[in-house]
Symmetry: C2
Subunit: 108 residues, 2 copies
């Protein structure tokens, strides 16, 4: 035991959980916010923006990439990172539509 029982939940629930999990670390929130603020893809210097060692940042970038939230492109010996609009929009829509889906009256 110890592993998440993904097979018992819908694809959509697993997909949203995967994206939320990827953002479930302040460093990865910081990376995403940084990628959002720059007006072009950024090559490299994410490491200098974060208070973490290079291997640690590399690992966080990998997780964001695995979750589909960012993309990485090889450019010479550097790598150009940017937001993956398709997946991010998918996640944003999920949360944006939440308000209209909440039918619960506050009773607690």
């Amino acid at each position: 035991m110890g592993a998440t029982k993904t097979e018992h939940f819908t694809d959509h629930q697993n997909e949203m959980a995967t994206m939320a999990k990827a953002l479930g670390h302040p460093a990865r929130i910081a990376i995403l916010e940084y990628l959002m603020t720059v007006d072009t893809c950024i090559c490299g210097d994410i490491v200098n923006e974060l208070p973490l060692a290079q291997p640690t940042v590399s690992q966080h970038l990998k997780e964001l990439k695995n979750a589909g939230l960012i993309k990485g492109n090889i450019e010479g010996n550097a790598i150009c990172y940017c937001i993956d609009h398709t997946t991010i929009d998918h996640m944003i829509n999920y949360f944006s539509n939440m308000t209209s889906k909440i039918k619960t009256k506050s009773c607690c």
Copy 2:
């Protein structure tokens, strides 16, 4: 090592990461979706809705509560759960505002 270095990030980044982390499991996505669909607070039967044992569900509910996403009220020998609109709205707004903050052009 192994613990998240929260002290290096802003309060807001940590707060968003905490909420995202709480939703980073399909069972907790499922719980939240269930609480959203019912038009009143639900007493108990969340366990019957999920393919997980009662202690496991109780643990997931605790994490959602710790993240501030849901509230629980004692009602006799049962507990009435419902969405915490204040925090959920906070999270929803964060993601809703993302679209306008993304200045990056797709270049990858």
